[in-house]
Symmetry: C2
Subunit: 380 residues, 2 copies
């Protein structure tokens, strides 16, 4: 159904598919702003909760507003009994991303009015999903380890509460801060694939659960959120820092993809990677993982030497791998961490879309035959 | 991140977002072809199973191929015990669309290799989802009615097996044929929103389950698959055929939307509606529902008189409402019927996308402020 004027831009590259006031990216200069505020400022000065308020309200909260926001979020930490039972019924060998997608989808079944889409109601549903998702991840991980589910602690921040529910003990301040910064830096990033999927789905005026569920499904793909697992796998293949040079040069010679380098958007350094590098180093020191950090840094130096002129730098996935490992996360919980943070962005884009909606309904180039006769089966 | 050359086409209207060999739509002339074959020919001469083969293989099957396809499909009719238990654990007052989305998502947890994406494996996964979805719908409907789940009968066609599992008795031939035609006519329809959502999600190389789950979430929106429920609600509000004229004219005077008329794509008659009208009339006669058919037809005549010059005709949702009612479906199972049929289209587009993939990653127009300072909370 194409017209003479229409052009097929594969992957919609360069096509503007939404207007937003949430994040601004200048890949050439390595700039990322949330509502105009530089990501570096937010990572060093803000909290994840405040960042979510910023993204959803397009301004920083007053002290009273932040207190009210935190109070509602913490009230929502607790899962329904039905949801807990569903998690316990999940096969212990299921991939966490499939579990999370299914469990977030299932939350609609416990909501007495899941389809309400006024911006105000959508915001409450989003806050509930944001508050519950860490409990889902932690509960499933404990379920598969044969441990009892740890109930949330509403006296704790989003970051601290997750680490507490996961490990059953209060995390150190450094771990909480590190995890909080990971959440801040992953909260939103323009019209990435999962965010776009959420906007596409909500544009039928379906519901917040359907939109976030779609986004989780998108994020698990290796061309999107799955990438930080690839970094960790590569790091695990390299025995020590002295082997980095030969390992990486071999990969380059064999034209293998070095995970965690290059980004479709950033041609300059990924501004989120700088924050994470600092963080990863500190955590590695604190947790006795300097071997891992040193390997990562050595890879970066080799890549910089080989490719910097071509604009290939570590992306946000590269140092998040080291960071998450140091926090004590298993490999298949890396992408779920991306979910926890990005729910903020997904929900914010859904709210923007609901505020000025138009159904996404692009067209196709039909490249097949026309007027084909239906031949009876005996004559085929 | 827009450039001077990029333009924002709201809803991506007129933007070509994929190439396909599956369906061709000419809205102006009211043409719909699957792989070049007119929808009218398929509706009158083909079966849903053959149509699915056509869409997935871009040609009609030989007799032997169709037999093999049917054999695999029928083997997959049976749900896993885990899936059955999950359905029985769903709240009986949940909306079926939320249940279906969640249960299809959950199927990934029972698949030992859910993430395999070779075209051949993706096709098997698609066939399994297609074969299992009717069992999910029927089982949940019986669960909420307090009835035992009816196991599938692999001696029956897709259409007959669904009606058997739903009602616990063998359907009449007319019901099977009618339902089969509904499935054929709803199997694919270009890059509608749910199909687009499936392509967007699979483009991260996630997995078939994530893609189909996203599509179900999209379809439930009132601007998409939810529309045929609206038609039935309107029909229920009109007491009898004699009240149609005044009811519709009142709605027009009050600028209320008449559900089931007009379509973003079709400016001429929706070619699928003609098939369904014939079908609906026959079924209404067979099942003692001529009152309902007569009301529908009277609405069409009023609308034709008032609007035909402006190109407003009944769309596919209009007569599917009467049809589904006559088959004995409750209102909230109307959109699920759309799911059963459209899985064919969704999966076919996913397979096309996997065959020539590129990540969907459009851009945004950032319309907010820049270089906003982070003001400390005490100073706000």
């Amino acid at each position: 159904m194409s017209t003479a004027e229409s052009t097929f831009s594969k992957g919609l590259e360069g096509v503007v598919a939404a207007q937003t006031e949430m994040s601004f990216i200048n890949g050439t200069e390595g700039v990322l702003e949330y509502v105009g505020i530089a990501i570096g400022d937010l990572a060093s000065k803000s909290s994840f909760e405040e960042t979510v308020f910023l993204l959803w309200n397009k301004r920083l909260p007053t002290a009273a507003e932040l207190e009210a926001f935190n109070a509602e979020l913490r009230e929502d930490y607790t899962m329904t009994d039905a949801l807990k039972e569903r998690i316990k019924a999940c096969p212990v060998d299921a991939e966490p991303m499939h579990v999370i997608r299914t469990m977030i989808s299932s939350m609609a079944m416990d909501d007495p009015s899941p389809n309400e889409n006024s911006v105000e109601v959508a915001r409450h549903k989003a806050l509930n999903i944001l508050a519950t998702a860490p409990a889902i991840v932690a509960a499933f991980d404990r379920h598969r380890r044969g441990l009892d589910i740890v109930d949330p602690d509403p006296s704790l921040s989003f970051a601290a509460n997750f680490l507490y529910m996961l490990n059953g003990e209060k995390p150190t301040d450094a771990m909480v801060r590190a995890f909080d910064i990971c959440m801040i830096t992953h909260a939103d990033h323009g019209l990435n694939n999962s965010t776009f999927a959420a906007r596409v789905v909500i544009s039928t005026l379906s519901d917040m659960y359907s939109a976030i569920t779609a986004a989780v499904g998108s994020l698990r793909g290796p061309l999107h959120g799955g990438a930080n697992e690839g970094v960790m796998k590569m790091l695990n293949q390299i025995s020590d820092v002295d082997s980095v040079e030969s390992h990486v040069m071999n990969m380059i010679a064999n034209k293998e993809r070095i995970m965690g380098f290059g980004h479709r958007v950033y041609k300059a350094k990924d501004p989120r990677a700088a924050e994470l590098m600092t963080l990863a180093k500190q955590l590695a020191e604190d947790t006795g993982n300097m071997d891992l950090y040193n390997k990562s840094h050595a890879i970066e130096l080799v890549m910089e030497r080989e490719y910097a002129a071509k604009g290939i730098y570590p992306n946000v996935d590269f140092y998040s791998a080291t960071t998450y490992h140091c926090i004590g996360l298993k490999l298949d919980l890396f992408t779920p961490m991306f979910v926890l943070a990005r729910i903020a962005g997904w929900a914010g884009h859904v709210i923007e879309q609901l505020g000025d909606n138009r159904l996404y309904r692009p067209t196709t180039d039909y490249v097949g035959q026309h007027a084909v006769p239906y031949v009876a089966i005996k004559d085929r």
